[in-house]
């Protein structure tokens, strides 16, 4: 595994690497760290992501954030300013060519979008627009703005966007590889993300706090909470090591209310546990809840109901931030109006739930216990494999199937672990693959699945999984036989 390890990147080596990174596309020449610091320092307080998160956390508020990105700067400004009144923090979703460093194709997308008069890209090609285009964007906004993408090698993207005044950067070496790529070796993407985190660390050292958000939902489809929690904790540890201070860990709604509340509550607790154990104390941790990340129902009213359930659970679990879906989700990149509609429905639900009693129940506590047992078991094995080094441990764990993400396209992922819903819709393990869970936890999963199988008078099988994947689009949580 080459020389990957979880150590802070050496300053000289980082600078040398930076030289190469900035040559990745013509616009790299526009990056200058000193200028970048000045741009960030000049940002008014209401445009700083870390400040918005800290305030929300202190006051117990939940921030709303949409997804949005189109090909051209002017259109993207108009889009974000149309969303701004309905949300608290802004996104810039990057197009899929840029995510794969295919800047030439992104350029073609820009050119053809200009000709077509409509965006032919599924996001904003920030690298192609360069520091200058991105600065025009940030300056035209009134709220903090984050880069949201899915890029295994996001070094140039980070350099350009942070130099332009973006104050939060999503992603991580695992979460932006396993669900987003096919052939990228995990050691490579982790190494590239150490660079991104180190860059953020340099801003922190210069007194500029940049928020970092590992991508919680992974493939968005039947991901057991412990799987995404382990990734979140690993990426948190990797980021802290490089000097990141402001971290938001994420979780994607799985559908069962008790399990989802338990997941978000345990995420904060588990992360603090591992961060403190690793000797980090000087960090600010917040959480983000992603509304349903699997296939949506096509009908807009039904989609809104899915959005509303997510809003309710996120608020009941007291997430710091919600990533908001839209009634167009099943169909395509949403219009401004559809995006506003998702935000308005979410806001109404969050507001209605905001003041209400804290939700607690034996079911939630039981789910917390299960998730904690699972996370500890897997983390223990990862640390063992890595000889105490989480970077090496992560790579070896994925190779061995000790960590395994369902439905992931990456070759780096074994793909043996198979989830399925239980009779109440909570996600359980139909096939644990090579993940080393304790015997009592495995027995629990087996019993829960057996209960469902009895109720449906059929044996558990991959067909059950297929039914579950398609269930929400067909207006159900559990995919029962007709």
């Amino acid at each position: 595994m080459t020389d990957l390890n979880n150590r802070r990147l050496d300053a000289a080596a980082f600078d040398a690497e930076r030289g190469e990174v900035l040559q990745g596309w013509a616009t790299g020449a526009g990056v200058c760290f000193a200028d970048a610091l000045r741009v960030q320092e000049a940002l008014p307080v209401e445009k700083r992501f870390a400040v918005a998160l800290a305030e929300a956390d202190a006051q117990g508020h939940t921030l709303l954030q949409p997804r949005a990105g189109v090909a051209l700067v002017r259109e993207h400004v108009a889009l974000l300013n149309g969303l701004s009144p309905y949300c608290d923090v802004l996104p810039t979703t990057i197009d899929a060519y840029t995510r794969h460093n295919r800047y030439a194709e992104a350029q073609e997308g820009i050119d053809r979008s200009r000709a077509a008069g409509t965006s032919l890209l599924n996001g904003f090609p920030a690298v192609n627009h360069g520091v200058e285009g991105c600065r025009r964007l940030v300056e035209a906004l009134e709220k903090p703005v984050q880069v949201r993408h899915g890029t295994p090698d996001a070094r140039l993207l980070a350099e350009i966007t942070l130099a332009a005044g973006f104050s939060s950067f999503e992603g991580g070496g695992i979460s932006y590889n396993i669900p987003y790529a096919k052939h990228v070796p995990l050691e490579r993407s982790i190494r590239h993300w150490q660079y991104c985190d180190r860059l953020v660390g340099r801003f922190e050292e210069a007194g500029i706090s940049i928020n970092r958000e590992p991508f919680g939902p992974l493939t968005g489809t039947l991901v057991p909470p412990f799987v995404s929690h382990v990734v979140a904790i690993l990426e948190g540890l990797l980021a802290l090591e490089q000097g990141v201070k402001c971290i938001t860990l994420g979780y994607g709604q799985a559908g069962n209310v008790a399990q989802d509340i338990a997941a978000l509550r345990s995420l904060r607790r588990l992360a603090n546990h591992y961060f403190l154990n690793a000797g980090f104390t000087d960090y600010r941790l917040t959480t983000v809840f992603h509304q349903w990340m699997g296939g949506f129902p096509e009908d807009e009213s039904q989609a809104t109901a899915v959005i509303c359930l997510g809003a309710l659970v996120a608020r009941q679990a007291r997430a710091t931030k919600i990533i908001v879906k839209t009634p167009h989700e099943a169909s395509g990149v949403p219009t401004l109006e559809a995006n506003q509609a998702g935000l308005k429905a979410t806001r109404q639900m969050v507001n209605m739930i905001s003041d209400q009693n804290r939700v607690d129940s034996p079911d939630i506590q039981m789910e917390i216990d299960v998730i904690e047992a699972e996370v500890h078991a897997v983390m223990r094995e990862i640390l063992r494999l890595g000889g105490g080094d989480v970077a090496r441990g992560a790579v070896l764990a994925f190779a061995a199937g000790v960590m395994d993400v369902p439905f992931a396209p990456a070759k780096a992922n074994l793909g043996k672990l198979t989830p399925v819903r239980d009779n109440h819709g909570a996600i359980r393990l139909f096939d644990v693959g090579n993940v080393p869970l304790p015997a009592d936890v495995l027995a629990f999963h087996r019993d829960k699945i057996a209960e469902r199988a009895r109720a449906e008078r059929r044996d558990p099988s991959f067909n059950m999984v297929v039914d579950d994947v398609r269930a929400i689009s067909a207006s159900k949580l559990v995919g029962r036989p007709a």
Partner: protein, 159 residues
């Protein structure tokens, strides 16, 4: 297989820089159970990879998924490329979230048929229907001698 027997063999994949893997897994599972032999290239497949594989496997059809919205850009000239490579006659299907945004399906369909796809499917298509169409389309395109002489029900051929 479909070249030299009455089986139904297709090449399946998600085109371009598209990483959406879930629908691909579902399609593989459902088509296979429907009696179709699926050679699955997974996600992020280029036009040439599709065509190379279809030639190597003597597949009766290529099924292209595009989910992430760049279908318009990625599928450009697909049929022409097939023709160049001697696969002018192959059955070409495309499906998924083919364009950016929520658009009238009829317009999207026309656009992709213009690109040479035989059939264009929306995400909500009933896969049982797709299986039936696929079998009849492949049968139609078989060399004349083999046409209309169905062997065993295809369902029995698959595991």
């Amino acid at each position: 297989m479909s070249g030299d027997s009455q089986g139904y063999k297709v090449v399946l994949g998600v085109i371009g820089a598209d990483c959406h893997a879930v629908g691909n897994r579902i399609l593989t599972s459902v088509l296979t159970q429907g009696g179709i032999e699926v050679v699955n290239l997974g996600v992020m497949v280029s036009q040439d990879e599709f065509i190379d594989c279809a030639r190597a496997e003597q597949a009766g059809a290529i099924l292209v998924s595009s989910i992430y919205g760049h279908g318009e850009l990625d599928c450009q000239d697909f049929r022409a490329r097939c023709e160049e490579r001697g696969l002018g006659d192959i059955v070409l299907y495309v499906g998924g979230n083919l364009v950016i945004g929520k658009q009238e399906f009829a317009a999207v369909e026309a656009q992709f048929r213009d690109m040479g796809f035989d059939r264009v499917f929306r995400p909500t298509v009933d896969l049982a229907e797709v299986i039936a169409l696929l079998k009849s389309d492949i049968d139609q395109r078989r060399p004349a001698g083999l046409r209309n002489s169905r062997a065993l029900p295809a369902e029995r051929l698959s595991a």
